[in-house]
């Protein structure tokens, strides 16, 4: 009683420290890493800093699991954040991606260029932004989260400052990204203007009461917001930056972006649309569906005839985003679960693929070119197998997690009376076979001519090996290890998907506004 009065008297917010502890772990980790990096010296740079980063991520994972609970979301800090399975589950994905990236970046040029402390700190900062985003409960947090996510990435993309393409990708990402966030901001402003609130909960309750769902102001706001978020998730036609930035950025950064950024983007898309704007679903669902179709088609046809693996993966990433968007469109718990499931799967298969690309481009004279994989099957099966598994999974062959993911998505679409979207997904995967299978063919069935139609490349790829002399196939165990782990996970969850299903199921429960599966 007495204490209550005291708390009431002091107008300080109630902060659930347990709830935001993962966020603290990451943010604090970044600071510690920075400080540690002040001590120059090989040991600190090569061993201590990475270790600290891993420690921070590990701590975050632990805390997240500690926080784990199913059921409805729990707003904390005056409803700025929500701690619920959707947030927790997806942030787990960020952390895992982060761990993999630590290994990938360990020998990278970018690390040497920017200094490991700065590199890892920036990465952690970005992860912090993602964590915020995943649990954002109001528009302001949303915006800050997105910026905290993006700005470090702009830097990381450009961090190989001596390489022109790295700078180019950095600038492109920055400019287009800022346009995106400006659009988003404007949209959020309109939504705020239409509803008078910034909290998702209040917005949801305002829709249909204080403001009609078909109010032009609101809808324009939604349109702007969709555009902004679609940009982050690299959904066509807002995808154009993706291939260029992915190709130009240092490959570890590309891997990180490809998986984590997309996951974060979908996290916030799910929150905004399934929580705040759920009652306007009739209005936004068709638009998103159209975007999904465009994305699936554009992404898949774009990926064909790419000679750079990073580029190919970028395009395929666009296509995959389309698949997941279909899960959002459905707007049911099942759809939510399917999307979450696919995001997890997406992490494993892409990380496996990127790991191989990294391992190869450091030693091959073809860099990240498709040719760099020629004859890999007999040369080093340890790399060829993960790549093969990743490609098969991306193409959606059975006994890989990718198949289950597609299956789940399709059943979600059919269940939500969007059967034709399911068919579109299928059509997309048909087209995708062309380029996924070609990668496998190059690895196992060479020597043979890779026919690559299309634009002549301006820049012939130079060996990156010159930049990191100690990198040679035998000397990057950490990369190979991560790759193998990811591939193993892809297969494992293809055969025993239940763990992921439970995760996805909890995620699905976190937004009770949705109609049950």
């Amino acid at each position: 009683m007495n204490t209550l009065n005291v708390i009431a008297a002091v107008k300080a917010p109630v902060i659930d420290y347990k709830g935001i502890s993962p966020l603290f772990a990451i943010a604090g980790g970044a600071v510690i890493v920075l400080l540690a990096a002040l001590f120059r010296g090989r040991f600190v740079q090569r061993a201590l800093v990475p270790f600290l980063t891993v420690a921070a991520l590990g701590a975050a994972i632990g805390l997240t699991i500690w926080n784990w609970h199913t059921g409805d979301s729990r707003p904390i800090v005056e409803g700025a954040l929500a701690i619920d399975p959707l947030a927790l589950g997806l942030s787990l994905l960020f952390y895992i991606t982060g761990l993999a990236t630590v290994a990938f970046a360990w020998r990278s040029v970018a690390l040497r260029e920017s200094g490991s402390g700065e590199f890892y700190a920036l990465m952690l900062g970005s992860i912090a932004g993602m964590t915020m985003l995943a649990s954002a409960e109001n528009l302001v947090t949303l915006f800050v989260g997105i910026e905290l996510l993006s700005i470090p990435l702009y830097v990381l993309c450009a961090s190989e400052v001596k390489r022109e393409t790295s700078l180019e990708s950095g600038l492109k990402y920055l400019v287009i990204g800022s346009v995106g966030s400006a659009t988003l901001l404007y949209g959020l402003a309109f939504i705020y203007g239409a509803t008078g609130h910034t909290g998702f909960g209040q917005i949801a309750s305002a829709l249909g009461n204080s403001v009609s769902i078909t109010d032009p102001l609101l809808l324009t706001g939604i349109a702007l917001a969709v555009a902004g978020l679609a940009f982050k998730a690299s959904v066509a036609p807002f995808h154009a930056w993706t291939p260029d930035v992915y190709e130009g950025a240092p490959t570890p950064v590309t891997a990180f972006m490809a998986v984590a950024t997309k996951t974060a983007a979908f996290a916030i898309i799910l929150r905004l649309f399934d929580e705040a704007l759920v009652s306007a679903q009739l209005q936004w669902a068709p638009a998103l569906a159209a975007l999904a179709v465009i994305t699936i088609l554009v992404g898949n046809v774009g990926a064909i005839a790419q000679s750079s693996l990073k580029r190919m993966l970028a395009w395929s990433g666009v296509a995959q985003a389309g698949y997941m968007l279909a899960g959002v469109v459905v707007g049911t718990q099942l759809g939510l679960q399917a999307t979450a499931f696919y995001l997890a799967v997406y992490l494993f298969m892409n990380m496996a693929a990127f790991g191989v690309v990294i391992a190869r481009e450091r030693v091959s004279e073809h860099g990240d070119g498709l040719k760099a994989l020629e004859g890999l099957g007999s040369a080093s099966p340890l790399l060829a197998w993960p790549m093969t598994i990743a490609m098969l999974s991306l193409a959606g062959f059975p006994v890989t997690a990718g198949f289950i993911g597609k299956f789940y998505l399709i059943s979600a679409t059919v269940g939500g009376d969007w059967a034709w979207l399911g068919v579109i997904i299928v059509v997309g995967s048909m087209i995708s076979l062309v380029y996924y299978l070609r990668v496998i063919a190059v690895m196992w069935m060479s020597p043979f001519k890779i026919e690559l139609p299309g634009l002549p490349r301006r820049r012939e790829v130079h060996p990156v090996a010159g930049w990191s002399p100690e990198a040679d196939p035998r000397a990057q165990p950490e990369v190979i290890l991560v790759t193998l782990l990811m591939a193993a996970a892809t297969i494992f969850f293809g055969i025993v998907p239940s763990p992921l299903f439970h995760l996805a199921h909890d995620v699905g429960t976190s937004i009770s506004a949705l109609v049950g599966s």
Binding site: Y154, A158, G170, L171, S178, A189, D244, Q306, R458
Partner: protein
């Protein structure tokens, strides 16, 4: 003066910013145009904040200012890098990544 007026004004500013991004080739100027767009957002936010009489919008705007500053910093950093790399300050010159 009606709130509508402010909003229309901000729409104009936003558009001008966009046009700038599309038409200018100097990365510096493009950054400036981005600032314009963000400020248009700010104006809208504050107008709405006034309209509803709650402070959320103003806080939002404040945050946006910070964000804008950060973008500027990073952007300028990249531009400096480009300059050091002896590449002309022309975004069209940076089009090696394509296809």
């Amino acid at each position: 003066m009606n709130i509508t007026w402010y909003l229309v004004l901000s729409a104009f500013l936003f558009t001008i910013g966009a046009v700038g991004v599309l038409t200018r080739r100097n990365p510096l100027v493009i950054l400036l145009c981005l600032e314009l767009m963000l400020n248009a957002g700010n104006l809208a936010l504050i107008a709405f904040s006034r309209m509803w009489g709650n402070g959320d919008g103003q806080i939002f705007a404040l945050v946006v200012m910070v964000v804008a500053a950060c973008e500027v910093v990073v952007g300028l950093g990249i531009i400096v890098g480009i300059f050091r790399r002896r590449i002309p300050e022309d975004v069209d010159a940076l089009s090696e990544l394509r296809g």
